[in-house]
Symmetry: C2
DNA sequence: CCTGGGTTTGACAACGTTGTCCAGGTTCTA
DNA sequence: TAGAACCTGGACAACGTTGTCAAACCCAGG
């Protein structure tokens, strides 16, 4: 490939600029800009000449320069815990659709539930000058975001509230959901209900535990602390927890599992046992209805979480200036069989 | 909020620049740049002064300007079909990890299996001057990408090959996988095997169909065209297809479903029937082992697809200049029960 | 043929950063 | 002590685009 010195010709790795287009079309720089952006006030004939030059050179506007000049990037950042978690699929998708509707691109990052990594990602996105941020918090202290928010980065938290700052947040009603799920088990005759949850550092985990305790208390039932297990959601820990509460001295007859990862492992453990144990899980998951018995769940609407967060975000970007608000979405109990199993006859359900 | 004229103070919606920092620290612009980028040749004392000014003003480097100046954006684009499809979760995740390891951010878009939308997204990413692109093609003509690739945008296709251009691509071995899956059914005594696939416009769909036909031919079995159903993967179409081949005159005794969406619907249909029908599905999915019977699948390694694509991409970004290559990853048959069901005794398995 | 109004066009600065290059100061060497 | 070598810091241009503003042009009406 001859390295020609004619600057207006395409060379490998060098992209033509508006200046090149202008030279080729024999017009001024600004006229090219006008054509590229569809601004009025250019003769049809000139438009055609410029268009031809654009096509001939394979010109594509450099949005970096445009962004620098205009100050707006038409992109929003989405930071969540793990892209591969099926719960976040519909949420991301909903945010993406909203972004698309507003002509914005989505920049994505997973925090892997690590506070430092969340911070690092969020600040990288701010350095890119994203117009807005949607964050599923991993950290419990978001004061580092204050200067950014002051500087005008619209920020909405979703699924969990931010720590130590006041900002928009969209949540599912974890407390009521868990309370309803546990009450459902109690209504089917259970008196000893186990709870397998996430680490207490996570807000939703705390709320769901509170829902569990409330439901038990409302029914006048005691909670044996051996029935409550909190910690990371890896299968090994969850398995051990399930075994402990099922094989102990006063075994539970039902289990409430506080998120989808826990539920899946719990199902695996319960299915292998002779004595059926009732189960209600927080979060719906695909194929829950096809298992036998079908898994009764407290479903949250992940897509709606994303939509609501995006709605809030774009309202702010459109200049609406309101106080930060908390939106709480209701959950839905979906009975499928596992939550309606009765306690073993003649078993510990006698008061 | 008083609109002070002191330009170096923070005002709402206006961010401090290096110039502001320089003024405040009493140093030159370039010195600030050096400190921000950790370049050598600045006295510790000066560094501290600059650092203080940065903290006081809440300065954060504007990456748009940096990108404009340097030409590299440290970001890569990922365009796939649907973020919410669980198959793409691990793939995205793997790409993200690789990006992170190389200090790059990930910009994300879903094509929704629409060629125009793919093109629009890809070109938007090119306008942003992403350093590289990873694309799950929805279109069958990617000539529109040629100028971009010539201009230096490293591009790797994944899961499906590009159309009408030569470029890197990472694929699962759909042909062999399907052939093995169908051979597995035949090995268990089936002679009438149905195939429910995706639209033929999709490369993997064609390959899997070819695998099916090859397995049947290799076993000397005829294929009745009523056993083959191709089309969109919505549940309604798949259900009808399954019913037709199961209730027809010469009903199939086994079904090969050519992707995860089809498999899930097929399981739903088959589970409701008295006569058990064998099933092997392409793509693994969560909980496949918990259904009864467990679903035998041809598993592809989605995460490895992503990793391999990212590896290829970053090799190119590191300057390695090779001919475009096709990488094909093997699939793995995972027997779980549904694929090992025998045909009904005394039924049509007599030759 | 000139004036006035509108339309079309282009020159120029600016966005915030980094690369180049040079000035001034310090330290070391002969 | 002079001169070289080195270190630190800053002035300036450039990246490719868009906003501002003024110049040039066109046509109709007088």
């Amino acid at each position: 490939m001859a390295d020609t010195t004619r600057t207006s010709e395409r060379r490998y790795g060098t992209r033509p600029t508006m200046k090149d287009v202008a030279a080729r079309a024999g017009v001024g720089l600004k006229t090219v800009s006008r054509v590229v952006n569809g601004e009025p006030g250019v003769t049809p004939d000139t438009v055609r000449r410029v268009q031809d030059a654009i096509d001939a050179l394979g010109f594509r506007r450099n949005d970096s320069a445009r962004i620098l000049r205009k100050g707006r990037t038409a992109s929003i950042g989405l930071v969540l815990e793990d892209l591969a978690d099926p719960f976040y699929g519909p949420l991301s998708r909903a945010v993406e659709e909203a972004a698309r509707a507003h002509g914005a691109l989505l920049i994505h990052g997973s925090s892997a539930e690590d506070a430092d990594r969340e911070r690092e990602l969020v600040l990288a996105l701010c350095a890119r000058r994203v117009d807005g941020l949607i964050v599923v918090p991993a950290s419990d202290d978001h004061r580092y975001l204050e200067p950014e928010i002051d500087a005008g980065v619209a920020t909405v938290f979703v699924d969990r509230p931010p720590g130590r700052i006041d900002a928009d947040v969209v949540l599912s009603d974890s407390f009521s959901g868990a309370r309803d799920g546990v009450a459902h088990l109690i209504a089917h005759g259970h008196r000893r209900v186990g709870f397998i949850g996430d680490r207490l550092s996570i807000h939703t985990a705390r709320e769901r535990l509170r829902g569990y305790r409330t439901a038990m208390a409302d029914a006048g039932l005691p909670v044996d602390e051996r029935w409550v297990s909190l910690g990371p959601t890896d299968p090994e820990r969850v398995r051990r927890a399930a075994r402990a509460m099922l094989d102990g001295e006063e075994p539970v007859t039902a289990v409430f599992s506080a998120n989808n990862r826990v539920t899946v492992t719990a199902v695996r453990e319960l299915n292998g046992r002779a004595r059926p144990t009732a189960l209600v899980g927080f979060d719906d998951f695909e194929l829950a209805d096809l298992l036998s018995p079908g898994v009764t769940v407290i479903a949250q609407d992940a897509a709606e979480l994303g939509r609501a967060a995006a709605r809030r975000l774009f309202r702010r970007l459109d200049g609406v200036n309101e106080e930060p608000a908390r939106v709480t979405l209701p959950t839905r109990l979906i009975p499928r069989g596992s939550g309606e199993l009765p306690p073993p006859a003649g078993g510990p359900s006698r008061s």
